[in-house]
Structures are given as C-alpha cells and as structure tokens.
C-alpha cells in the first residue's frame, strides 16, 4: 500500500507558532526573537536594552541555550522575569517550547517578551516562534561576508543589528557594503548599528522597540496581524 502524505515535517512547529501569535495578539504583547551566531552580542544587547526599558515597560526574557544558565543569570534583576530553556543539544528553539512558557509563566501580562535564541545563524531561522519581530545580529568582528553567506536569515528578519561598533577601528569591516548587501537581500529590513559597550546607537534601537510596543497596544486588528514568512 502506497500512501501519499505530502506532510511538512515542521508542520507542528508552524501550528504552535500560529497559536503563539494568536495569544500574543489577543494579549497585545510584543514578542521579539533574537538570532545571531555564538558570541555576536545577543545577551550584551539585552542587558543594555533592559536597562533602558524596564523602568517603564514590563519585560520578560526567555533565554535559549544548549546547557547552561549563565546568560539568564546575567539578566536576572534587570527585568520582571528571566526564564531559561536548555535545549540539551538542539541548535534552535521551537514554537511549542515558547507557547508552554507564555501560558505557564504568565508572560501574557507583560509588554515585551524577548527570546534569545540559541547561538546559531542558520537553524533558528527555519523555526518561526510566532514572534512579532525577528531581529538578527551580526557583529563587526564576524566579518562583512555574513549577510551574503546567510542571506535567508536576514531575508526573514524585520531588523538587523550590526553590533560591537566600538570595535570598528580594529576590524576590517566595510559598514557601507554590509548595509548595502542587507538592503539588497531585504529592502524592508531596518538596520541598526550599535555598541552594547559604548552605548552608541542604543537609544535609536530602544525607540524602535517602544514604537512597536505602542503599535501593538493600539492594534485594532488584534488576532489578525499575522505576518507571512515564506
């Protein structure tokens, strides 16, 4: 007997992502999925972002790491809630894991949920978590070829952060070329250049987040705002 299935194996993830999106829309909570290579500066960015925003916004962070809770520890005390997921070897987070936490940990009463995905520029990009905003990070120390080497990651993002700009004088990183490549890959991408160390560019990034929180809160079409990501 021959059975035609035609079934997408990540269908379960797609369904969970759609569920998450619906919960987040109903509760008007903004979820931001942060993707970048190991060491790109995701946690450092979050540390600084939380310092700017947690005085006036209720924020939760979900930290995805293979085994440790070192990153979660760095963020504890900087916002309302920090939750660690250990993926035990898996190189990305999946929507089902996030959905469970949204409910169990009462995250739908916050203004923003940040998700720091597992350090990896490839696999996390294939797993929609149901986020409103996908932000990919590339640090100036990683080299100017990263957007062209991992174009789909940037194509599927809403914003890209070029991080560690304080190190620009020591790196052979052509900022104009990278910005140009990113715009060619995705013309609607918002590009930020910033340094978590010097604070340069952080205010603009935080204002962008605040604008998205405000937009989400005032959304009349809650439950309908489903961005397509094919």
């Amino acid at each position: 007997m021959k059975i035609y299935l035609g079934r997408e194996l990540r269908e379960a993830n797609k369904n969970s992502a759609a569920d998450n999106r619906m919960m987040l829309d109903r509760s008007r909570v903004l979820m931001v999925n942060i993707i970048g290579s190991p060491g790109a500066g995701k946690t450092a960015l979050l540390e600084q972002t939380l310092r700017h925003l947690s005085s006036h916004l209720t924020i939760a962070v979900i930290e995805g790491d293979l085994y440790t809770d070192a990153d979660a520890k760095r963020l504890r005390g900087l916002c309302a809630k920090v939750i660690q997921i250990n993926t035990e070897g898996s190189c990305h987070l999946e929507a089902g894991q996030i959905g469970e936490l949204l409910v169990k940990e009462n995250l739908l009463h916050t203004d923003i949920v940040f998700v720091e995905n597992v350090g990896n520029l490839v696999c996390p990009a294939a797993f929609d978590l149901g986020e409103d905003l996908r932000v990919s990070l590339v640090s100036v120390t990683e080299g100017a070829d990263k957007p062209c080497k991992y174009p789909l990651t940037f194509r599927d993002s809403h914003a890209c952060i070029i991080s560690k700009t304080d190190l620009l004088p020591y790196c052979d990183f052509d900022l104009d070329k990278v910005t140009g490549d990113l715009q060619t890959i995705n013309s609607s991408l918002t590009v930020f250049t910033l340094s978590a160390k010097s604070g340069e560019g952080l205010a603009k990034w935080c204002r962008w987040l605040e604008a998205h929180v405000a937009k989400k809160k005032s959304a009349l079409n809650s439950g309908l705002a489903v961005p397509s990501r094919e």
Partner: protein, 106 residues
C-alpha cells in the same frame, strides 16, 4: 524526530504495522543537510515502525515567483533577485520545506 511521528501516527490510523519504503523531500533551502538526514535515518529508525525500510532522499530545487513582474524563476543566492525585473524579495513557492512525499507499508 518529527519524521517518525508523522509516519507513525498516519500508519497507526490505517492499521499499518510496518513501513517498507518512504520518500523524503528536502528543500534546497530547508536548513537541513541531506547528509545529516541520511545519517540520522540510518540510526534513528532502529526499533521503530520504519526499521529496515528503504528510502529515497531527494532535494527539491527552490522556485520563486516575482510579485512585481510575475516571472517564475529559480532563486539564486545571495540576493535571490528576479532575472526579469531585477527586484528582490520574491517569495519562495517551494524549496524551504522538509516533507514526506509518500510511504509504503503493509
């Protein structure tokens, strides 16, 4: 592994005890490596309904359709531009999925 779950649950509903063959399609841009998948299939199916089944692993080429000029084309990295009008951002119509085309069982 979701492959096992998808086949197991479907086979369960149809009363199929053993899977003898299946065809797995890996999109060119599915973020899955065919070599890694092959390795996984040789090892993770042991003791499951798929144990001993022969399989075909095929790559599916990506396709795009331009939203500006309507042209269908094979997108090429890194910019995936439309060869007709030069614009980027055309959605992929296929090539990003990972799916089981069919299986055979008894």
């Amino acid at each position: 592994m979701s492959l096992l779950k998808a086949v197991e649950s479907d086979a369960g509903q149809r009363g199929i005890q053993k899977v003898t063959h299946f065809r797995l399609v890996v999109g060119e841009y599915s973020a899955v490596s065919i070599k890694a998948m092959d390795f996984a299939l040789q090892h993770l199916t042991t003791g499951t309904i798929l144990d001993g089944a022969s399989y075909e692993l095929v790559t599916e080429e990506a396709r795009s359709q331009c939203q500006d000029c309507g042209r269908a084309f094979r997108p090429a990295p890194p910019f995936f531009l439309c060869p007709g009008c030069g614009r980027g951002g055309a959605p992929f119509t296929c090539g990003r999925e990972l799916y089981i085309d069919y299986y055979e069982g008894e």
